[in-house]
């Protein structure tokens, strides 16, 4: 990777709406990322934005991401999207995408709550490959979706797999609660993405978890790179902490 200080966005979804095919989609994502000083984008969940995907849909989705990475290997890295309900297929995808490259991590969305034995098997393989797990998390007012994970679920899972780095995406959305829920589990980071740029979020995350456990992510293209970067740029924290959040931590997680 490139010069120190460049920004890594750990959470991007290049939805097909942003361009027709991987090349057009990549160009579109890079055009905006360039404006914001974002050098690297961690991709997952491309055109197949399905909550309970089949094996074929998983393959199509990961193929799309793979093509984007192939086009711009110096700007994109990938998380293999898995459906843990399809455990054998999930383990095969890990082997094909991560063990053989070019994917570096695992993305889990809402197909199955992550505090489940199927996910333990995935974590064991992730530990062997040193692949971080990006797990969507919400504390949704009125109750989560059937297969949706909360930060508390990630914390429980992470306590069983201390050698794996987990990213509790969105910090649970209801972040005042989400940050508390993962505070005692040192191998869980939170990312900054996918919710409104509410003042105080990054400060609380740094105060409770330490800057080392906070990762910049945007949830683009559904969210703006800008609104999500603002949570870091505008936070009342030190410049050193901002650098960690914007890139240093992700370099450590990915062992770059």
């Amino acid at each position: 990777m490139s010069a120190h200080g460049s920004i890594i966005d750990c959470h991007v979804h290049p939805t097909a709406a942003r361009g027709d095919g991987p090349a057009a989609c990549a160009a579109e994502m890079l055009r905006y990322a360039d404006r914001m000083g974002i050098e690297w984008q961690g991709l997952s969940l491309g055109p197949v934005f399905i909550q309970q995907p089949t094996e074929d849909e998983i393959v199509a989705d990961n193929d799309f991401i793979a093509e984007m990475i192939e086009l711009h290997p110096d700007r994109f890295f990938g998380y293999a999207n898995l459906n843990p309900n399809l455990l054998f297929h999930s383990l095969r995808e890990i082997d094909e995408r991560i063990a053989n490259g070019p994917f570096v991590g695992i993305k889990l969305w809402v197909a199955l709550c992550c505090n489940h034995a199927n996910v333990d098997a995935i974590c064991e393989r992730a530990a062997e490959l040193r692949a971080p797990i990006l797990q969507h998390t919400f504390f949704r007012a009125g109750g989560n979706l059937a297969g949706e994970s909360s930060p508390a679920d990630v914390a429980a899972l992470a306590s069983r797999h201390p050698e794996v780095t987990f990213i509790a995406a969105h910090a649970g959305l209801n972040w005042e609660r989400g940050i508390r829920a993962v505070a005692d589990q040192p191998n869980v980071c939170v990312d900054t993405c996918g919710f409104d740029p509410e003042a105080g979020f990054t400060e609380m995350a740094v105060q409770w978890l330490g800057a080392e456990r906070v990762l910049y992510g945007s949830d683009a293209a559904g969210r703006s790179f800008a609104s999500q970067l603002a949570k870091v740029h505008g936070a009342d924290i030190s410049d050193d902490d901002k650098r960690l959040i914007l890139s240093g931590n992700m370099r450590r997680v990915l062992a770059l």
């Binding site: 609660r177 508390r180 505070a183």
Partner: protein
């Protein structure tokens, strides 16, 4: 006459559904001082509807720090992760108790977490204030109607947590008398009721007769309420003996603090 009067149920800060006045430490002390109240235990109005309720604790401690007449009661939500840390912080901040609003925090006093909180608070020498309601349910904001806390099971909790002092705040006559009826005898030694919501002609005296004046604490719910309501009820309307007045206005509160 220079009587010590401790208001065990006063508030500071903002209430989202009404612009309150007299809600800074200086203004509150001046306002309750007009009716002879010399000390007050204060909770944060803001914390009732904050999601991260504990965020109000350090500011509250800071607000009362320069006022010897004010003692802070923190707010915790035991249904949220890391609540133990919040209780410990309240103790470190020199607070005398922790307040819970189960109805605004979406849990029930019969949930096991409340027992855990009672244990933790008791170990740290903090009393637990169980606030039954904040305002008359009939005039809540139409999109935020919060029913009052039911007190069934309270006596069981007292029996299991005899080391912890519990103050029930903002309970009305029927709720207090309901607990007394369930007790069918003396109330648990460390259970107290605060009197701001006790109504009816001579009602405070009638309730004191039922539960024992030693279980009743003087409280105003100021500045949401006129503090005159409490003083007029206790000193003018009712016919308490001097010994009862001493207990009600400060003796019970001082004993509560000493025994924590």
């Amino acid at each position: 006459m220079n009587r010590t009067i401790i208001d065990c149920n006063a508030n500071l800060g903002s209430w989202p559904f009404r612009r309150t006045s007299y809600n800074t430490p200086e203004d509150l002390l001046e306002r309750i001082g007009r009716v002879g109240i010399t000390q007050a235990w204060v909770t944060s109005l803001d914390a009732v509807v904050l999601k991260n309720v504990a965020a109000a604790n350090a500011p509250l401690a800071e607000a009362v720090a320069e006022h010897d007449a004010l003692r802070a009661v923190g707010t915790v939500n035991p249904s949220w992760p890391q609540w133990e840390r919040d209780v410990a912080e309240c103790a470190e901040l020199g607070m005398i108790g922790v307040r819970v609003n189960p109805n605004y925090q979406a849990w029930l006093p019969t949930d096991p977490i409340f027992g855990e909180l009672l244990s933790a608070a008791g170990e740290l020498g903090l009393f637990v204030e169980l606030t039954v309601r904040m305002t008359d349910e009939r005039h809540h904001h139409p999109l935020m109607m919060v029913p009052p806390v039911a007190l069934g099971g309270l006596l069981d909790l007292c029996a299991r947590h005899q080391e912890t002092t519990i103050m029930v705040a903002n309970a009305n006559n029927a709720q207090v008398l309901g607990v007394a009826r369930d007790a069918a005898g003396p109330l648990p030694e460390r259970l107290y009721f605060e009197m701001s919501h006790i109504e009816s002609v001579g009602g405070v005296q009638a309730v004191a007769d039922q539960i024992g004046v030693e279980h009743l604490l003087f409280g105003t719910h100021a500045p949401y309420y006129y503090p005159e309501a409490a003083t007029l009820k206790v000193f003018d309307e009712c016919d308490f003996s001097e010994a009862e007045l001493e207990a009600l206005t400060h003796g019970n509160a001082e004993g509560l603090l000493a025994a924590r």
